[in-house]
């Protein structure tokens, strides 16, 4: 066990819950391991959300 397993646990039981909100972006616990750059790449491709990265 290490500290990251606690984040994995949240991703397993509450995957869609917002872990971090930042400058219009929302990262769920399931998305957290990929970080903001992956989230931004996905949202740019889908054009579903407008993200203002500070």
């Amino acid at each position: 066990m290490d500290l990251s397993d606690l984040i994995d646990r949240n991703a397993a039981f509450t995957p869609a819950k917002a872990a971090i909100r930042f400058a219009g972006a929302r990262l769920s616990y399931a998305e957290l391991p990929g970080g903001l750059s992956i989230w931004r790449g996905r949202s740019n491709r889908s054009s579903a959300l407008s993200v203002a990265i500070a």
Binding site: D2, L3, S4, L6, R9, S37
Partner: protein, 478 residues
């Protein structure tokens, strides 16, 4: 991210990765990726001068640096100084280096290293010491685990909480008082890239957070903002503050509007939570910092190391799983600070008959300016390198806006002049702006005790008197 760090950068158990960035999600993602790999994260204070960053990167022997585009101009000089350093642009393609997006896209494997558990060191947080050079406090994964237990106990935190983080993540206060405890518990965190009063009040109004950590300087800025009176605070279950003795008027500004203010005491070396008041307990006890946290032993001792009785001032010493294990590759500093497992804080406090702590002063003369720790020895080291200065001493002077600001007492070399602007420029080349003295006093000699040590308390008395008089023919303020 852990897969990318391991497969693309070759990060192994025990390697160090630095980050130079304002608050953003990837800061926290990197922290937990380091935990998974058994690597250590070295957060860099973006307020530091390049020379200070360089010292830390060299001391920690960092293998990779993640850097935000806003700080890209330092990537070139750092790459020249550290040719083996792997540089990754968090939000841009670093040159030399690469972008985090491309790094993650190329990641493969399981993103795990063997033999990683909570006993592994996770953070090296540099703190300027009394020796004048920064020291890296090494904190294990279990330190963050126990720190989170204390935060959750302190705030009655649950997964339903929403933390607003406005303090910088490069300090343990911004990182660990509420942010990592909330994420580990499954709560939500909103990050502001940097604190501004306007953005913080807007985030409270629109995001409706339940918890926030503020230092006195940020509270003061919020009170002075035009939006303060109209901003609804009802969502806040508590405001947590500390870092120094907090003026009661700042506490009252929130409590008058129905928001409890919690006090926390600790330091970089304690992750930082060690002593705190509780939302469900003693937060109304005026002036008190509360009781020792769960799993944390806190004693007050005299100069011989004997515990002092209630009502008597003593040095705060802390022992427990959340305290540092050592200063990175600095056995002398580690031996000095850690004795029989007790971390000696250098702070002076007393306890009442119920065991509640009251923090009095800092034994080591540390200055806290705008929430930043400023160590006089570090500034004195720079001043003493100036060719016109024979010797220098630095103290903190009370300041309405910043709590304290550094001021310098200068003994000039024979025949040397006193060019304030030139000395300020000299300091700025080596120190962060907030460490540059706000006033200089030219004196013939420094007050010393029988052992030859500078008596900082006498300088403090002089500075206070000079500030009261508001003018002195020997003072040349900025």
């Amino acid at each position: 991210m852990a897969r990318a760090l391991k497969s693309q950068l070759g990060i192994e158990r025990g390697d160090r990765i630095a980050i130079l960035a304002s608050n953003q999600p990837d800061y926290l993602v990197l922290l937990y990726a380091c935990a998974r790999l058994g690597a250590m994260l070295v957060p860099l204070n973006w307020r530091l001068a390049l020379a200070e960053q360089t010292y830390i990167l060299a001391d920690a022997a960092v293998k990779a640096l993640l850097i935000e585009q806003a700080f890209a101009p330092v990537a070139g000089p750092l790459s020249e100084t550290f040719p083996d350093l792997q540089i990754v642009g968090i939000d841009f393609a670093a040159e030399p280096g690469q972008s985090l997006a491309s790094l993650i896209a190329a990641g493969s494997g399981d993103g795990r290293n063997r033999g990683v558990d909570h006993a592994m060191p996770l953070l090296i947080v540099y703190t300027s010491g009394t020796t004048g050079r920064p020291k890296g406090a090494v904190l294990r994964q279990e330190a963050l685990l126990w720190n989170a237990v204390m935060s959750q106990h302190m705030h009655d935190m649950t997964a339903a909480d929403h933390v607003l983080t406005v303090l910088p993540l490069f300090h343990v206060g911004g990182l660990n008082i509420q942010t990592t405890p909330a994420l580990q518990l499954g709560a939500s965190v909103t990050l502001l890239a940097r604190f501004t009063a306007e953005a913080t009040l807007a985030a409270i109004a629109h995001g409706r957070p339940t918890l926030i950590v503020l230092v006195p300087a940020t509270i003061q800025a919020m009170l002075e903002n035009a939006a303060w009176a109209e901003t609804p605070l009802a969502s806040l279950r508590a405001v947590t503050t500390g870092s120094t003795q907090v003026p009661q008027r700042l506490v009252d500004a929130f409590t008058r509007r129905g928001v409890p203010v919690l006090q926390v005491y600790g330091s970089t070396e304690t992750c930082p939570i060690a002593v705190y008041t509780r939302l469900a307990g003693d937060w109304r006890r005026a002036g008190s910092t509360g009781l020792p946290g769960l799993g944390c032993e806190v004693r007050l001792v005299d100069q011989l190391g004997n515990e002092v009785p209630a009502g008597t001032a003593g040095e705060v010493v802390v022992r427990g799983p959340s305290t540092l294990v050592e200063y990175w590759r600095n056995s002398a500093a580690s031996r000095d600070a850690l004795r029989e497992g007790w971390y000696h804080t250098g702070d002076v406090a007393s306890r009442d008959a119920d065991g509640h702590f009251f923090i009095h002063d800092r034994k080591n003369n540390m200055i806290i300016s705008g929430g930043e720790n400023v160590y006089p020895a570090e500034i004195e080291r720079v001043l003493n390198e100036h060719p016109a200065i024979a010797e220098a001493a630095v103290i903190g002077r009370p300041d309405e806006k910043w709590q304290e600001v550094p001021v310098a007492y200068i003994v000039p070399r024979p025949g040397a002049g006193g060019d304030v602007a030139e000395i300020e420029g000299f300091c700025l080349a080596q120190l962060a702006r907030y460490k540059v003295p706000r006033a200089f006093f030219w004196v013939d000699s420094l007050p010393r005790n029988a052992m030859g040590k500078v008596q900082h308390f006498r300088l403090k008395e002089h500075a206070a008197a000079a500030a009261k008089a508001h003018s002195s023919d020997t003072e040349q303020s900025k």
